[in-house]
């Protein structure tokens, strides 16, 4: 575990803990946030104790606490990944229709999701490889993708085989159309804007280098 990774601007590539720390830094105080299953859950480890950030889990809870430690496990209290968790003061429980109404009605400030691919227009593919023998399983991903006020993606910029995951158009089946606001990766952070992808920061690389490796026009931030 590397929970104490510090943001090292300019150095890179970042490991998953450093990406999680970056995301945590960008979550405003008191925000209501859903962290998707898998790597996005690491973001919780990097939220300051006094952040006032309230975590939502789609199986019906606000103010979810950290994973249960030994002796704290309660089979009635799990997160969306079915991992035993804990409860913080100010918690509330609700049923699934209310939980998803909360998501779909635009009440969550931010959700953080993993991705197979994100397109230049902010289309998200994160539920299905489309492989003929794959068993499709979507869970709450499509609801989160269209529901949260801001959708942050956390992923590596390139797949293990070196192909980019930030692409002109997604090849994998979509989770949602034009729903991603920002993409946090090991090599850079991107904003999806009406004018295209804007690079916010790079880690151990440059915008020019990235532009060469991605089949995409990249913009620098207006202030850069």
């Amino acid at each position: 575990m590397n929970r104490n990774s510090q943001l090292t601007c300019g150095q890179g590539p970042l490991d998953k803990h450093a990406i999680a720390a970056l995301i945590a830094r960008d979550i405003p105080r008191g925000a209501y946030v859903n962290l998707g299953i898998g790597q996005p859950t690491l973001v919780a480890d990097h939220l300051p104790a006094d952040s006032g950030v309230v975590l939502h889990t789609e199986n019906g809870m606000l103010n979810m606490g950290p994973a249960a430690e030994e002796g704290q496990v309660d089979p009635d209290l799990t997160n969306a990944g079915k991992v035993p968790v804990t409860e913080l003061p100010g918690a509330a429980y609700f049923h699934h229709a209310d939980s998803f109404a909360m998501m779909r009605g635009g009440h969550l400030d931010i959700c953080v999701l993993g991705a197979f691919q994100v397109s230049a227009a902010g289309d998200l593919a994160n539920w299905h490889t489309g492989a003929p023998d794959a068993i499709p399983a979507v869970g709450g991903a499509m609801d989160l993708a269209i529901g949260a006020k801001k959708v942050f993606v956390m992923m590596t910029l390139f797949a293990k085989d070196g192909t980019p995951k930030l692409v002109p158009e997604c090849g994998y089946p979509l989770t949602g159309l034009a729903c991603v606001d920002r993409v946090y990766t090991d090599l850079a952070v991107f904003d999806v804007t009406a004018q295209g992808l804007t690079v916010r920061e790079t880690f151990g690389t440059t915008v020019e280098e990235l532009a060469g490796r991605l089949d995409l026009p990249l913009r620098r931030p207006a202030t850069a």
């Binding site: 925000a31 100010g90 918690a91 009440h107």
Partner: protein, 223 residues
């Protein structure tokens, strides 16, 4: 963002703009946020659309807001009551618009607004005046009317207790429209009898989670 605790109802209603759609909780007097309505009268916003089950009783609360000429339109299920003379007079003299909505549609249309539903096919009102001009569809042999969400700019609701993050619990039938309106407005303002420390409310019993609540004020006669 977490709810803000306000010292006074005037602070809680600050910034409500002319022309706003204001959802007002309560069923009769139960759950009626009287102090917030009084503060809204002092605040002065006008040209309002008020969505509430009734259209005011007697001379206070909603009726007083109407009497001041601040309300352009009322959307409600039951404007006519024995003591709804303020509304009656404004309506009969053509000074206020009225949209009568079946009570279940009022609740469900606000729920839809809060839940991200674009529209829904509803069994209530089929073949009646209140469905005239509305799209209908036969589904599985039954006719439904297409109904659209009602979204508020502001909701003024009354609840029993709040914790400091804005979680709300209600009491008995004063619950009524509060929890639904809390999901359906951009800014949700709750008047409560008591604010308790966070952690005091049993998480199983919270009816309106803090995510829906923007501002909380404790009733003045209880502070």
């Amino acid at each position: 963002m977490s709810a803000r605790l306000c010292e006074h109802a005037d602070e809680a209603v600050a910034g409500i703009e002319d022309g706003s759609t204001v959802l007002v909780g309560g069923f009769g007097m139960a759950g009626m946020p009287v102090e917030l309505i009084d503060a809204l009268i002092r605040q002065g916003a006008k040209d309002l659309t008020v969505v509430s089950n009734n259209a005011g009783n007697g001379d206070t609360g909603l009726a007083a807001l109407l009497a001041k000429g601040r309300v352009r339109k009322v959307v409600c299920s039951f404007p006519r009551q024995s003591d709804s003379y303020v509304f009656d007079e404004l309506y009969r003299s053509g000074k206020i618009e009225l949209e009568v909505v079946p009570q279940g549609n009022l609740a469900e249309r606000m729920r839809a607004a809060g839940a991200g539903i674009g529209a829904f096919y509803c069994p209530t009102g089929v073949g009646t005046l209140l469905a005239e001009g509305k799209e209908t569809r036969v589904i599985d042999g039954r006719t439904y009317v297409l109904e659209y969400p009602i979204k508020g700019d502001v909701a003024l609701i009354g609840a029993h207790r709040a914790d400091r993050t804005g979680n709300l619990v209600y009491r008995k039938t004063a619950r009524n429209f509060g929890p639904v309106m809390a999901t359906a407005a951009t800014t949700v303002i709750a008047q409560v009898r008591e604010v308790v420390e966070t952690g005091v409310l049993d998480p199983e019993t919270v009816v309106t989670p803090s995510i829906f609540v923007d501002r909380v004020v404790q009733e003045a006669d209880r502070t």
